[in-house]
Amino acid sequence: MKKRILVGTLLVLTVMTAAAFTLKMPPPPLIELKGATPWAFAAGLFLPKEAQEYTYALKTSPFDKMTYPLGEQTVGLFEKNLPAVFKSVVRAESPKPAQGVDLVVEPSIVKFEAVVPHPAYNPYTATIVLRVNVYDREGNKIFTQTATGNGQSGKGMASGFKAQSLAAEAAQLAMADAAKQILEALLAAPEIKDYK
């Protein structure tokens, strides 16, 4: 009897471990910004450690859990695209700019929701709300923009065979949608235009 319980427990643990996986999200896309002229400022990109490591876990069945590496993706997305908004971008350790840095940009994730459908052939969707705060040389907040992005992905009846990549694609589309709005907002912000 004890042996059976032990074997059963090990089996359940093995299945649960095998079914908890982190999505492999492709490298963040380069976002197209029509006619963008970068501001002549050196910007610092600041994400606290906990924000960089932030993941969103979605339970897809009693034994499955899908983890979205959203913090890692956010860092990559802004590292890749912020140079279109500022003449130079370096990593920052705090909201107060270091020597030679004019302002600091701090992105954060306000909200994330994803649908991994059952049945698996239905649409894979994601919604994200991203926010950036911009800080001046004294570390005072001078600008905030929050933006909502949506993503949807699917391959019709074949969707179930590509569930992980479709879920990742929907999340990445949503993130790119929100990030594009934020980058456009930074390029048009009067608070940054008037910044000395």
Partner: protein, 296 residues
């Protein structure tokens, strides 16, 4: 009044119940055996209290608050709207075919026009409605985008039921967004801007046939083979239907009304309906009537 599962409210959290008092509801206290009731009223600081199944009576004093310029919040009566500037309706239509999905710009545009006519019909006799021409570039495009960004996020983060009771009236987040509302209001002589947006997912004939075939021919053998193939790719999500889909086919619409003068968000609503054909003006009118049902 609303009911939360945690002591501190999180942005965008789902509340168990939101409604105006008196409210009758059987509450599930869950394993923790406690909930938080929050009472909100325009012009007063929100007040919340922890309750358990043993709680009989609670008293929640509400404190009046002032605005930044010293006025009492929530005092100003909103004048009636004479003219409304309509932005959109922008609807992204996704066609779900047997083996792929594609966005139909044509259907989106046609459905947007049909819904715009339905909005005008809803406002008929109450206020003039003018459609904002979509700018393609330049400063005008930048103005419209600023308004759109802030309104879209308001629609996502503000609870439509709680909006009239929030301690302070929410406004568009950025100076650019508020300036855009003011400029457009002055240019078009409008009191408020109505933004309508959404997405529609439609299953095409091929997808429907595929679903029928799956249910008719789905044998244990085919399931096992497909499941094994999916597992070999590390994909354990291939399962036959167990749960109802969250939103597989239909029309999701969101709408917000923003005062031009100061960018205050006056009203928000959203909902999901069955797909609407771009040619079905009667159905579009029905949907819009329902969407605007909470708009005074």
């Amino acid at each position: 009044m609303s009911v939360r599962l945690s002591a501190q409210a999180e942005p965008g959290e789902v509340r168990q119940v939101s409604g105006t008092t008196p409210l009758e509801k059987v509450l599930d206290f869950g394993k923790a055996g406690r909930l938080w009731l929050e009472v909100e009223k325009r012009g007063y600081a929100p007040s919340s209290v922890e309750v358990t199944p043993d709680t009989k009576t609670i008293t929640l004093p509400l404190e009046r608050i002032g605005t930044k310029d010293g006025r009492e919040a929530g005092k100003a009566a909103a004048p009636p709207l004479r003219k409304v500037l309509l932005v959109g309706p922008e609807v992204r239509v996704t066609l779900r075919r047997f083996a792929k999905e594609e966005v139909s710009a044509d259907q989106g545009s046609r459905l947007g026009s049909t819904l715009a006519d339905a909005v005008r019909a809803c406002y008929s006799g109450r206020a003039d409605v003018e459609l904002l021409p979509v700018a393609q570039d330049g400063e005008e495009e930048s103005t419209q985008k600023a308004l759109w960004r802030d309104t879209r996020t308001s629609m996502e983060l503000i609870d439509p039921v709680r909006l009239p009771y929030l301690s302070e009236a929410p406004r568009l987040e950025t100076r650019s967004g508020r300036d855009a509302a003011r400029k457009l209001g002055e240019r078009f002589g409008a009191d408020a801007i109505l933004v309508v947006s959404g997405r529609q997912t439609v299953e095409t004939g091929g997808m429907k046939v595929g679903k029928v075939a799956l249910f008719a021919a789905g044998s244990a053998a085919s399931y096992a083979a497909a499941y094994s193939a999916a597992m070999a790719r590390g994909d354990s999500l291939f399962v036959y239907p167990v749960y109802l889909p969250a939103f597989s086919q239909g029309l999701l619409l969101q709408a917000a009304l923003v005062r031009c003068g100061d960018g205050e968000v006056l009203w928000i609503n959203r909902g999901v309906w069955s797909p609407v054909s771009p040619d079905d003006s009667a159905e579009a009118a029905r949907v819009m009537k329902e969407l605007f049902s909470s708009l005074q």
